[in-house]
């Protein structure tokens, strides 16, 4: 098991964003986290990456409790994420963005950088060529020198994935990667995520595009109002009455609507 979330809760003041949510993700699978808007999916990402500390509960990554660890150490342990609203470094080129992602897998400090020691130069070379490989991998081969701001929306999403992959994660968290993408882009994304899985990287995916989620995920957990209401394979989820109710509303509600 790569990741175990045990009874995680998060309260903001009196508001309970997540309550007692538990699930676990197996090595190498694509795990989907779905639910209506405001269900607490992104909050869950923020707990896993330690942007927030859980109000209660535990998050266990490879047998280690990672609660309260600083976010950059979480990345170093092997969890990296993308953001729902793209957060690239706008004035940097695509290549530089990905090179930043390799920060935690490299170690040159101030003095080796200034004196350009042999190991620093080799490391820079390695970082740069890996960055270009990753750009190639996500289909941005010709865009290394392009400022990320001027990339198309779908390309920016893929660049963010490349940047996250640069930190050599074991677990990759994707927050609505298909948002705002057209059908072609979504199908490219499908193949990209499959390719990432083939590399042995476990993927935790938040997504609203249901056909994509159902095709892609091995297992799915459904959140609604901060609680987990279902977990299972895509087929199980599609036929779960609670899930249908959360997405479509119950019959009684419809009567009064």
């Amino acid at each position: 098991m790569v990741l175990q979330v045990k009874k995680a809760s998060k309260n903001f003041g009196g508001l309970s964003a997540l309550s007692d949510v538990s699930f676990s993700i197996n090595q190498g699978e694509i795990f989907g986290l779905i639910g209506p808007n405001g269900a607490g999916k992104t909050t869950m990402f923020n707990l896993i990456t330690s942007m927030f500390t859980p109000s209660s509960g535990e998050i266990i990554f490879n047998e280690d409790n990672i609660n309260g660890l600083k976010p950059h150490l979480i990345t170093k342990k092997g969890i990296c994420r993308t953001f729902q609203n793209i957060r690239l470094f706008p004035q940097m080129t695509a290549e530089e963005n990905v090179m930043v992602g390799e920060h935690c897998r490299s170690k040159s400090g101030v003095f080796s950088s200034v004196f350009r020691t042999k190991s620093q130069r080799q490391e820079e070379e390695r970082i740069r060529s890996k960055a270009n490989e990753l750009l190639e991998f996500v289909g941005l081969g010709g865009f290394a020198e392009t400022v990320s701001d001027s990339l198309a929306y779908g390309q920016q999403r893929r660049l963010e994935i490349a940047r996250a992959l640069a930190s050599s994660p074991q677990l990759l968290l994707l927050d609505e990667p298909a948002a705002g993408m057209n059908e072609t882009e979504t199908s490219e994304l499908f193949h990209l995520i499959k390719k990432i899985q083939e590399q042995g990287i476990t993927v935790l995916l938040i997504e609203h595009d249901m056909p994509l989620v159902m095709k892609l995920c091995d297992r799915i957990a459904v959140l609604n109002f901060g609680k987990k209401i279902a977990e299972g394979t895509p087929a199980e989820i599609q036929n779960n009455p609670d899930v249908i109710e959360a997405y479509l509303g119950s019959e009684e509600e419809d009567m009064y609507a």
């Binding site: 950059h72 706008p90 004035q91 530089e96 101030v110 020198e145």
Partner: protein
């Protein structure tokens, strides 16, 4: 021949330009992680007073004094940098401005040590000390066809020039490395930088300490070039002046504050009649720059344009005219 060209007055102006360039670099470094610090006048004062007092009271060599002043300023940089990590933008600016004032007030009131508002005079002069040392070895500036005075100012200028070039080279190399990328990432999006595995605490304090070190270094040089310092040299006006170098020249690239310092030090010297109205003009510059060109005169696009116009350094591919940082 050579002797007539070397005018001590011009050399002294040139030396102050170089010191101001170093100060401009100091504010640029902290700004390159997105932190606006106005404490650099204070750090400059710490460097200047430390070095002056050590050389005056303990007869230490100037170079030891300068190193000690620089390091102490760096230590203060860390001490101020850590508690102010949570502050951003204007709040950080206010706190650091306050710190600078505290330092100045200490210089004014710790009379037994600093001689208060009167200031310290008779600080060993870098050029003269060098001349005296060389004379012990039997060197005479006349060999070069120079007066003592000319040699002294020429030596200071050359030392400062070497130091300034080294500092700029240092930070240009740092910028193009893993450390520079981390700085830039923090400046552009702190949360994203953190989730990409960058230890933002470390890099922000590092930038703060580097800025303090450089400002302290400039202060120590200042003390030994001028041979006289007083608390007024490190007051609020100085903090604003350093800020203006970055606002006017720009803070995206290191050449921005360098150009700002150069231009704004030369201007009052060339246009003597303006000198009195300097601070009014600074105020105007801030307002105009904020309205018209918030990134400062020199930015990435201008640098790229200059590179394109310079035949030898022409870029290989057409697309790279967009390349940044």
């Amino acid at each position: 021949m050579l002797a007539e060209l070397i005018n001590p007055y011009y050399l002294q102006v040139a030396s102050f330009i170089l010191i101001n360039i170093i100060l401009g670099v100091s504010i640029y470094i902290t700004l390159s992680t997105g932190q606006l610090s106005l404490a650099n006048a204070g750090f400059m004062g710490i460097g200047a007073y430390t070095s002056a007092l050590l050389t005056l009271n303990f007869d230490l060599p100037i170079i030891v004094g300068i190193l000690a002043g620089t390091l102490l300023a760096g230590v203060f940089g860390i001490l101020i940098g850590i508690p102010t990590l949570r502050l951003q933008g204007v709040y950080l600016a206010i706190v650091t401005l306050g710190f600078g004032e505290v330092i100045r007030v200490i210089f004014v009131n710790w009379e037994s040590m600093t001689k208060g508002a009167v200031g310290l005079s008779g600080i060993p002069h870098m050029g003269r000390e060098l001349l005296n040392t060389l004379k012990d070895f039997g060197f005479d500036p006349k060999i070069l066809g120079l007066q003592n005075n000319q040699f002294v100012f020429l030596a200071i200028f050359l030392i400062l020039l070497g130091v300034t070039i080294s500092i700029i080279a240092f930070f240009r190399r740092q910028n193009r490395s893993r450390v520079g990328r981390a700085f830039a990432a923090i400046k552009l999006d702190e949360k994203a930088a953190e989730s990409m595995g960058i230890n933002i605490t470390y890099y922000k304090v590092l930038a703060f300490a580097q800025g303090a070190l450089v400002a302290g270094f400039a202060g120590a040089l200042f003390a030994h070039v001028l041979a006289y310092i007083s608390p007024a040299d490190f007051a609020y006006h100085r903090a604003v002046e350093i800020l203006i170098f970055a606002v006017f020249g720009g803070s995206e690239v290191i050449w921005g504050p360098v150009f700002g310092a150069l231009f704004l030090t030369v201007m009052p010297e060339v246009l003597r009649f303006i000198s009195e109205y300097r601070y009014m003009i600074y105020g105007l510059i801030i307002i105009i720059m904020m309205a018209v060109r918030p990134q400062g005169l020199i930015d990435v696009n201008i640098l790229n344009w200059v590179k394109l116009k310079t035949p030898k350094r022409r870029q290989k591919h057409g697309t790279s005219s967009q390349k940044s940082i």
